[in-house]
Symmetry: C2
Amino acid sequence: MRTEGPITGEQIAERLNVTRAALRPDLAILVMAGIIDARPKVGYYYTGKNTFNMLVEEISRIKVRDVQSVPVVVPTNTSAYDVIVTMFLEDVGTVYVVEQGGILAGVVSRKDLLKIAMGSGDLHKVPVKVIMTPMTKIIVTTADESVLEAAKKIIDNEVDSLPVVRPLAADRTYEVVGRLTKTNITRLFVELGEGKRR
Amino acid sequence: MRTEGPITGEQIAERLNVTRAALRPDLAILVMAGIIDARPKVGYYYTGKNTFNMLVEEISRIKVRDVQSVPVVVPTNTSAYDVIVTMFLEDVGTVYVVEQGGILAGVVSRKDLLKIAMGSGDLHKVPVKVIMTPMTKIIVTTADESVLEAAKKIIDNEVDSLPVVRPLAADRTYEVVGRLTKTNITRLFVELGEGKRR
């Protein structure tokens, strides 16, 4: 089947020199297991699946909405000092900067704040707008993207988290609706490994 | 088999009112798939496995040594300022504080540094010893622990990473040999999902 499929049950029986009846239960089990499939009037063919590929499928089905956290946001006129306070109060590593109506304007991480804190300036006087990563450099995800795709973005772009957004217009205007972090993905990994999620 | 196993091939054939010969290929496939197993002179029994449990086993086999990163360490007499510099140079979120001989003395995170940076003190004059999390509160892992167990520790204790240690004595004296982060686990998740790791 792997090399010559689709192939009919009759052809297989002939090739293996057995009766079709003898073949039937074996084929039924292989179909049930998802390893082969049958198309009416065409024949049996190899699906290319094994338990490992099923693992891949299982993982690919999980969406960002299934694991995302609530976003923590501050208005654009917040000071760096107040952003740090917000981070500690909410116990998050990333804060989203938003304009009127929850429109995403930028992202601030602990790393951004630590960099500015090393300087000699007064953190109360530094506006978050100056230190945030602006929209042009922000990688986003959406609630219905697969966690796998989003996790790839996190790894490839070397960021700690992605804002989960809802596009409002074609020109990168987004409402921020969630937050996908490496903590979410680590927790998902634990749940998968413990058999708690399927 | 699920309720009455182990059960012999003969008994199954009798129960299903078929010949043992008719049964043989079906049993062979179920054994191959790992869903049942056979013990000589005892009979067939249900293993309780399905593709999902196999996923769990697959994940449980991966060890910390397979995904860990190189640890970034500073001596105990380093200033908070220099720890921040090290963090930026090495691009890590956690630095390990070590005594002579690489003995782990404490852990410093971006969060610890941000907290101290908010104060009015001179970061050059604050020794890392004052701000680090001391050994009594540190959760550790070892290279041969499963990533799953280590990931559980990360989630349950709400930490960003675990030092990978080699115990040197019974009284919590450890040499630090690695670093297991949520980035390592996110990357592992991507590799599992892409079918790149088995």
